[in-house]
Symmetry: none
Subunit: 478 residues, 2 copies
């Protein structure tokens, strides 16, 4: 059962309207990580609920409580739940997305205002265009195409949209657990589909079956009672920056190997069939260069580089808080600095088994320095890695949908990043979770000039709809 | 020849009047670094010239040209030149000071209005009280005590007061070179006296005979075309932060030793008589702890710690530009980072002989990493160190003056920071330069609640005057 032809035709015909809806969504500055935009983030939730209602979905706004952000006590943006169809003969698909976005200022280097969707060269530029407002609008497009033409949806749908994904999905895990109970919103869900990641490249659609976890750390070093002048105090006192930089330099080698004892050895070497998946992948060293904007791949071997992202842990040094970070030259000895880094985790690594190794190693390296400064290792947040079965009907339906719309077989990928909600759904509902990306590798989520290709938005909408038809078809095939 | 007793008596009798003059000077907000206060800075120059004239000094306002500050084209504050006495039988002493000050807002944490001199517990609080209006007023006090009592000054005096010291003494070096020529203002000067630094502690007067130079660097590392997401790119690409942190970790050891080959070995070990100077110094590890606000001295040996500041080079890591530096946890791979550090230099080090060593070392360390990122070492600014001969009559006169007024032998100190004009006078005029501090170590120049102890102002005035008498006396002694 391929998709209903009227659905596909409607999508092509109404592309402009769909783009306008995305523009309306991008315009709402739903920056969850900035207290100043909390009201607008909540407003985005309300806007989205209204859209769903207008498309025939039964909705509910769910209060997730409060948080303290930038010294303010704030309401969390609500979770938006939706329900459409309750036919016991149909499979029930749960759709997840997030309506909040990363911060963006034009002065960061955007060519255009980040919160005004701009179409240029068949690309839609704007904060949230690809992460994750584009995919959410894709689902609304599917609903509209069916509602407008009075087409029956082939499955029952449940929706779960949150507004805190970019800052840790606060409150969501407990909420999902609650809604998974008998009689609640997620009861009876057969599978989950999440569109919140990207193709491996700019050419071939992907299906994603793995995610790395993460453990985020700060190394806090403090000493002087206040910032000191390097002329007066240089070579008299233990400088926190000297200690911190030394510690940070001992974490990862320049070839990407993690130097913390016990981390690398946890990971099993790849099997031959696994290596074959990587060899088959539509991917080249030139793709890394293109995506990164420079020829800086860690190796010339495609498999090594792609496995570095997908099946090995990585450690990135993000920066230092409390040190001089402006242009120019200030001769300060900062009194209190925090070095930020994170480790991307792969099975069987978890924050629980990795954090103690990291903490013990840094503490022992610091002890060797005989510094009179104070040091502590802070683990701020983390999430487990996840791997799914690609032979499940949920993945099979998506594969068929992609082949029908794009006329191409997908790459089966594992993501280097984490989407913690994936694991929560998998563990809480006990069903297969599919990651079905809409955007391409060069979309620049979280970066300046974020975009979604127009074709990814429109053909991507067709994939989402077709996927639902294939889920229904596979149920019939048994 | 000690000072004329009437001079000393006059100073004691007119302390209130002298404090009032300092209050008048503090009230003028001569903040050279802020375009909004440029007129007031220039007004301060005019006020000072008028004071000098009133005290019998022949003066000239010297135009130093223009600068661009905060987007505005501004006249530089004038240099104030003065001349008093031209007796070929007398020595000619050149006095330097600066009439500009650092910015100050009460909201920065001042207990009282920074531009209203407030006397409390025998301390005079106000911006510029110790840096550097107090010392300049000290000289005016000396002149007044002589003029009012028709006492003859024992030396010829020349004055050079500038209004741009706090923002780099723009235009001053060329100006001093010009005025050093035959027939110009500084022609015939026998020695220079500068009061623009501080005692080593709060107890013992000091004479300062050395200053460290500085070489300021940025290590620029770039790779990706834009910031990358660590989930997507971690362990795929060479990360600029990994390279930079590794390079920065190779510059200085946690005990303060500079690891760049050739830097430490340039410096001769201390002679026994030099070590004795440090042993005699009124200084303890507790003083470091008090000044730094924590017990973080690099050693428990007083001599080691104080030599670290005074006679050895130091390397401080100031921070990183372009990396994540905010609170919270951002999982970014910064595309372009600049690690800032500076080296305080001691003879025979100069920016000229140190910069090539630093650059070559970092380049060779970077080459070992086989990184595909781009790296360059940038030397942004620098200044040579300076050391004077403490056996010169100029220092001897100051020592005698201190002993006469304070009944204590001075500490002979070298400063860890730089006062570039010192070197300019020494090299341009080819005469001995003396740094004769008026204030104490806890005065808080450049900080909130800057103060000058009343006793330092009044006894300090006596020291300045007595010093002139001792210069004359030593000339007679041959
Ligand atoms: Zn997202
Ligand atoms: Zn995101
Ligand atoms: Zn000064
Ligand atoms: Zn100053």
């Amino acid at each position: 059962m391929t998709a209903h032809p009227d659905f596909l035709k409607y999508v092509d015909k109404h592309a402009d309207k769909f783009v306008q809806r995305l523009a309306d969504a991008v315009q709402i500055k739903s920056i969850s990580g900035d207290a100043a935009y909390r009201e607008e983030t909540i407003a985005m939730g309300h806007w989205l609920e209204k859209q769903l209602k207008g498309l025939g979905v039964t909705t509910a706004l769910k209060d997730l409580g409060q948080q303290t952000l930038q010294g303010q006590r704030l309401d969390l943006p609500p979770a938006i739940l939706g329900k459409l169809g309750d036919d016991p003969k149909k499979r029930t698909v749960l759709i997840y997305g997030h309506y909040d976005v990363q911060p963006a200022l034009q002065s960061d280097g955007w060519a255009t205002d980040p919160f005004t969707l701009v179409e240029k060269d068949e690309k839609l530029y704007g904060r949230g265009s690809t992460d994750d407002k584009g995919p959410i609008m894709g689902w609304l497009n599917v609903l509209e195409a069916h509602q407008a033409q009075r087409l029956e949806l082939p499955v029952n749908l449940r929706f779960c949209f949150e507004g805190m994904e970019e800052t840790g999905s606060e409150g969501l895990e407990a909420f999902i657990e609650k809604e998974a109970a008998a009689g609640e919103w997620f009861n009876g869900v057969d599978c989950v589909c999440i569109s919140d990641n990207y193709w491996l490249n700019t050419r071939t659609p992907a299906l994603t079956y793995g995610l790395r976890g993460i453990a985020y750390f700060a190394i806090n070093v403090s000493g002087p009672g206040q910032d000191l002048h390097s002329g007066l105090f240089g070579r008299m006192v233990h400088e926190p920056m000297t200690d911190l930089i030394k510690l940070m330099s001992k974490l990862v080698d320049h070839d990407g190997q993690i130097l913390i004892p016990g981390i690398e050895s946890m990971v099993a070497p790849p099997t031959e069939s696994e290596i074959e998946l990587y060899t088959k992948m539509d991917y080249s060293i030139a793709d890394v260069a293109e995506a990164a904007g420079a020829s800086i791949a860690l190796s010339d071997h495609k498999e090594t580089v792609i496995m570095g992202r997908m099946r090995y842990p990585s450690l990135s040094l993000h920066g230092i808080q409390g040190a001089f970070s402006e242009p120019g030259g200030k001769t300060v000895i900062p009194s209190k600095v925090a070095g930020k880094f994170s480790i991307r985790l792969v099975p069987p690594q978890t924050p629980e088994n990795v954090v103690p190794l990291v903490t013990a190693y840094i503490e022992s390296e610091f002890a060797k320095m005989n510094s009179k400064n104070k040091m502590n290792v802070e683990h701020s947040h983390g999430g487990k890695p996840w791997v799914a079965d690609i032979n499940h009907w949920n993945f099979e339906a998506a594969r068929r949908a992609i082949e029908a719309v794009w006329n191409k077989s997908p790459d089966y990928t594992r993501e280097g990043g984490s989407i913690p909600v994936t694991l929560t759904f998998a563990e809480t509902l006990g069903v297969n979770v599919l990651l079905l990306p809409m955007g391409r590798s060069d979309d620049g989520a979280h970066s300046t000039n974020e975009k979604l290709d127009l074709s990814n938005f429109i053909e991507g909408t067709k994939v989402l709809g077709t996927y639902l038809y294939e889920v229904a078809q596979l149920a019939r095939e048994g």
